[in-house]
Symmetry: C2
Subunit: 267 residues, 2 copies
Amino acid sequence: MRPALSIHSEAAVLASSAGALGGNSPTPAFSPLYQQIKGLILQSLRETEWRPGEAIPSEMELAARFKVSQGTVRKAIDELAAENLLVRRQGKGTFVATHAEQNVQFRFLKLVPDRGAPGSEGRAQRDIIEFKRVRANADIARALALRTGDATLQIRRVLSFGGTPTILEDIWLPAVAFKGLTVEQLASFQGPTYALFETQFNVRMVRAEEKIRAEPATNGHEKLLKVELMTPLLSVERIAYTYKDVPMELRRGYYRTDTHHYQNNLS
Amino acid sequence: MRPALSIHSEAAVLASSAGALGGNSPTPAFSPLYQQIKGLILQSLRETEWRPGEAIPSEMELAARFKVSQGTVRKAIDELAAENLLVRRQGKGTFVATHAEQNVQFRFLKLVPDRGAPGSEGRAQRDIIEFKRVRANADIARALALRTGDATLQIRRVLSFGGTPTILEDIWLPAVAFKGLTVEQLASFQGPTYALFETQFNVRMVRAEEKIRAEPATNGHEKLLKVELMTPLLSVERIAYTYKDVPMELRRGYYRTDTHHYQNNLS
DNA sequence: CAGTGGTCTAGACCACTGG
DNA sequence: CAGTGGTCTAGACCACTGC
């Protein structure tokens, strides 16, 4: 069976563009077939040909569609599954990952209680303190790849565990992508906020970067978290990205760490 | 070619032990061949048949040794490489991972400068403040899977970047495994501490868990880090594990986060 | 029972490294 | 050039799911 895709198609593009610019082909940039298949599947995910939670076609179907062997499709899916974009379920199929699944919830919330398992406290109480439309300052704009002055939605909320306010978060979203988001929607939605983003705005968060510092409680944060002024808090700044590495959320969190801690595993 | 290993060997063990206990075989616990191969390779790593930095036998050789196909060995090695226990180098071979490699250094040190790349500050200055033999209290013993009162080596040191003291660390090691470790050795060794552990004590750190909190500088920590009393510091408690999930190091670090931050990537 | 993902094999060929 | 890991294929069979 001859593949319909050239093994060197991407390389050809790179080489030709380098040639057009007069560059002397720095790297052949060989791209294996399965990487190209991976790219095609990724493209379908971006274009939401299959939505979060849905099954994608079987390996056999995809192999036929792309005119490659099942093993090649398999390797592409393997990588996407390793990146948590797809979830394989033996006997059932391969599914688009979603933040609505229980086991995924704690991949993005690393604050866990000192005693007991991560989810042992039941559902966190979420209180929305503020919701407003603001123009991005230079910092916010840079983080979200916007221009200074572009419209954003800002949300301030407090998460409480067992009645104790533990997390204060300020969230900024590009207004264009989240047009129509309301406080009511945010307040009434059961489940992770990122699941709401998936179903209502077709925005799927794929990865995030967090910068963590220790800072004293000030600016009224101490009142909202019910701690003394200048109490050390964990400051967590997160930028969350969608499929094509587009930043779609900036989040500044302040965590109390007297009964919880930020858990990280290195390997 | 018939495999010399039974596909169900591990399953058989589990089933028989469950049977001996009168259990009614809860899970067949099917173990694929490549997992068994992975286990055998892991065993050789533990027994240091191949030492950190050395090449392991080629895929073909291992396939012949274990009487399986190259593809099966390949899948086993794939997983070990994904876990950072092995490193593949095309055209050269597969090597036992080591902390002596440049690119590995920053997998375990997540504190990076606010400006500039992770390694841009040059080598950190390390000053050993204290080195003593102490008996483990209940906390230390639990963390290192020792008994209270067992001997440990305690090291206190300060890491400085560009002349600024930034990290204060207390390290506890089980004395039995690190017999003969001296201050001179620690002070004179160039490169990561974990690389020293590999070459001198045959202890290879494979993964670690970190619990992070925000705490005020007290107990003289403020003097060693040259900050004011009660300045918020990042408290990082790490337990590091060797191949077979044996804890071999407890480390309590206090990080200044005025010019650096703890960087974490979620996916 | 059919359909899915998961394992295993055998062989061909490619890309990369170093002598 | 030989030796290594990397890719791709084709086919057989296994484990799991749900009808």
